[in-house]
């Protein structure tokens, strides 16, 4: 037990004395959340659109004006036909086109007016956001039947802001936990190999499990500290709601951290040098996680093979859980499936690392 304590103490010293690791550990998460936060809020403004108004009545002109007055859209093409819309898309002049059918005012009166919204799906994220804006504006002007006014704008702004924050805070938490847990642990273990110190540790009476745990526990604690920071910042600075139980959230985070740590250990059993560990973490963990976890790019709009692959990305399940807890306020009674998948993956990784962690060279 004494040896174990000594090991953990040593590990903390390594971390606390390495300024660069500390910066990655605590600076990156904050920087990331703030960057993402403000980048996303400013990104979609003045999106170029075209309006094909085939009705040209009071209502349709009103709607067009309202949409343009929202501040999110700028009219950038004068179109008379679908062909012209097509051309404007091709030339990249517009991100979205709005088609108002003939007799719009009359249909609206009957409650059966429909709007066609065409978007540039090469940027699915932006496309879906734009559609949701239009939906919101149209719903207001249609449902309430009175002239849409200034009242819409502040509400939309608020909603919009929150929608993207709700998207990215769980994502950032996930990335941060992977980064700290998997990457830093795998690097910390391979560093011992590279220095030749692993040879001594192996030759010592320390059991492999003690070596692994000694390396992992400090990072487990630090990751949990980090997660708390990111969630606090997201909650206070960006107003991410917390509808569910803090305890459920903590348990879910702990589960994911352990999962990521065991992945880190698996990487370190494969990699012989810190450089390889870093590359593996970045290529095999970070990239797929960012791309395939529903964090930035919606999985539903991906080709089928990628959708299949996304099923083996632990982060995908964690994002479902964290969104469920924070935004919807549900608990494990709803999220047990995702939690079970994560727990299963964790067990698998631990199994692999214990098997692969060699007691010899």
């Amino acid at each position: 037990m004494n040896a174990f304590r000594a090991f953990i103490l040593k590990e903390f010293r390594h971390i606390l004395r390495d300024k660069r690791t500390l910066l990655v550990l605590f600076g990156m998460p904050i920087a990331q959340i703030i960057l993402f936060g403000y980048a996303i809020t400013t990104e979609i403004q003045n999106a170029n659109i075209a309006v094909l108004d085939r009705s040209r009545d009071v209502r349709s002109l009103e709607l067009t004006r309202t949409i343009l007055a929202s501040g999110y859209f700028t009219l950038n093409a004068d179109v008379r036909s679908y062909d012209q819309i097509e051309e404007a898309f091709r030339k990249g002049r517009i991100k979205m086109a709005l088609v108002i059918p003939p007799d719009f005012a009359a249909k609206l009166q009957r409650g059966e007016a429909d709007l066609q919204v065409l978007t540039d799906a090469t940027d699915p994220n932006m496309a879906s956001t734009l559609v949701s804006y239009v939906n919101a504006i149209a719903a207001r002007s249609g449902a309430q039947g009175k002239p849409p006014g200034i009242r819409i704008e502040p509400q939309m702004h608020y909603n919009h802001n929150q929608a993207s924050v709700n998207m990215f805070v769980p994502g950032v938490i996930t990335i941060v936990m992977l980064l700290v847990s998997a990457m830093l642990t795998s690097i910390a273990i391979t560093r011992e190999k590279e220095l030749g110190n692993m040879e001594i540790l192996l030759v010592s009476p320390l059991k492999p499990l003690v070596i692994i745990l000694g390396k992992v526990i400090p990072y487990l604690l630090l990751s949990m500290v980090n997660v708390s920071t990111v969630i606090t910042v997201g909650h206070l600075l960006f107003g991410v709601p917390m509808e569910g139980s803090w305890l459920v959230l903590a348990v879910a985070c702990l589960l994911f951290v352990v999962c990521a740590l065991s992945l880190g250990v698996v990487i370190s059993t494969i990699a012989r040098t810190q450089q390889v560990a870093l590359m593996l973490s970045l290529m095999a963990l970070m990239m797929p996680t960012i791309l395939l976890s529903n964090f930035i790019f919606p999985i539903s709009s991906m080709p089928f093979p990628l959708q299949l692959i996304s099923n083996i990305i632990p982060a995908k399940y964690f994002i479902v859980i964290i969104k469920g807890v924070m935004l919807k306020g549900v608990g494990f009674e709803v999220l047990w499936k995702e939690a079970a998948v994560l727990a299963g993956m964790t067990l698998l990784f631990i199994g692999i690392s214990v098997r692969k962690f060699r007691i010899r060279l």
């Binding site: 040896a3 304590r5 000594a6 030749g196 040879e199 010592s204 009476p205 010899r360």
Partner: protein, 301 residues
């Protein structure tokens, strides 16, 4: 204390260690000497249980290093060739860590390292990375000794270290053997054989000879000649072609030639002159361990 019996280690098609057999007595300072890639590290790593032999057996104090690896791990102090301590921990923290890892304390075995550690004590709060090469070595030695091992296994501790620090290190090892600890050291420097009780000369995975330095040098059974001339390199070319020559090498500013028969120095001088080598002086030379090593290499080639 340590016994190698017909030990073989292969990596793919190359045989790194080829039927190595030797014993090291309790309290002995034993050297494994040979160039890089000769198989020294593989032998040591098998001894400390980090590698499995493909054939043969190794025992430490009667315990098989494969079957009873836990015993071996508790009872050896090992310094790998690349060992660099934890550079971001202080001298004292490093020592403390290794003591704890082996389930002991600095106080318990301080007497073992006292002599060496006293030189380090003034720097005990300094990070290991900021120590000089010689000091780092001393600290590494303390860390390997702190759990009172039966045997100390040091893989090339003096490689790349300057002559002064090397001499100091060897005298520390010599004093340690008086406590009864068994020490196995590997080194690429042949002249360090003189500092060991016995050595094994290794090349290309084969233990070519095991003996004291005196025994090794005495087993050189050729005549060795030193030839100085005005133009050493011409002399070397000529002597290589000489019918009596087993081998001829440039050595320092002279040529060293070994022969199987006695030579008349004066006769050789004349022969050289006839071949255009002027100012030749031929004298009998005393072989050293390097001569024997080269001889063994030729025999085993």
């Amino acid at each position: 204390m340590i016994r190698f019996d017909q030990v073989v280690k292969r990596y793919g098609n190359t045989t790194a260690v080829d039927r190595a057999t030797f014993t090291v007595e309790r309290g002995e300072l034993f050297g494994l000497i040979g160039p890089d890639g000769a198989g020294k590290s593989s032998m040591m790593r098998m001894l400390v249980t980090l590698l499995l032999p493909d054939d043969g057996t190794i025992t430490l104090d009667g315990h098989d290093v494969v079957a009873d690896y836990r015993f071996v791990r508790r009872n050896v102090g090992y310094m790998p060739g690349t060992f660099s301590l934890y550079t971001d921990l202080t001298v004292e923290e490093n020592l403390q860590f290794f003591a704890n890892v082996f389930g002991t304390t600095i106080q318990e075995n301080y007497h073992l390292i006292a002599e060496i550690y006293e030189q380090l004590a003034p720097f005990k709060d300094r990070r290991a990375g900021a120590l000089s090469g010689g000091m780092k070595q001393k600290l590494a030695l303390c860390c390997a000794l702190i759990h009172r091992p039966l045997a100390l296994i040091l893989d090339e501790p003096t490689t790349g270290v300057d002559a002064v620090s090397r001499a100091e290190f060897w005298s520390m090892l010599r004093r340690l053997t008086t406590t009864g600890i068994t020490i196995v050291v590997s080194t690429p420097y042949l002249e360090e054989a003189a500092l060991c009780d016995r050595v094994g000369l290794i090349n290309d995975g084969r233990l070519m000879q095991i003996d004291t330095i005196g025994g090794i040098v005495a087993s050189y059974d050729h005549a060795l000649w030193r030839i100085d001339a005005d133009n050493t390199r011409t002399a070397l070319q000529v002597l290589r072609e000489h019918p009596a020559a087993r081998a001829a090498y440039l050595y320092r500013s002279s040529v060293m030639m070994s022969t199987d028969q006695e030579l008349d120095p004066e006769h050789l001088t004349h022969e050289l002159l006839r071949s255009g080598v002027t100012g030749a002086r031929v004298s009998r030379a005393q072989p050293d361990i390097e001569d024997r090593f080269m001889d063994l290499m030729l025999e085993h080639a």
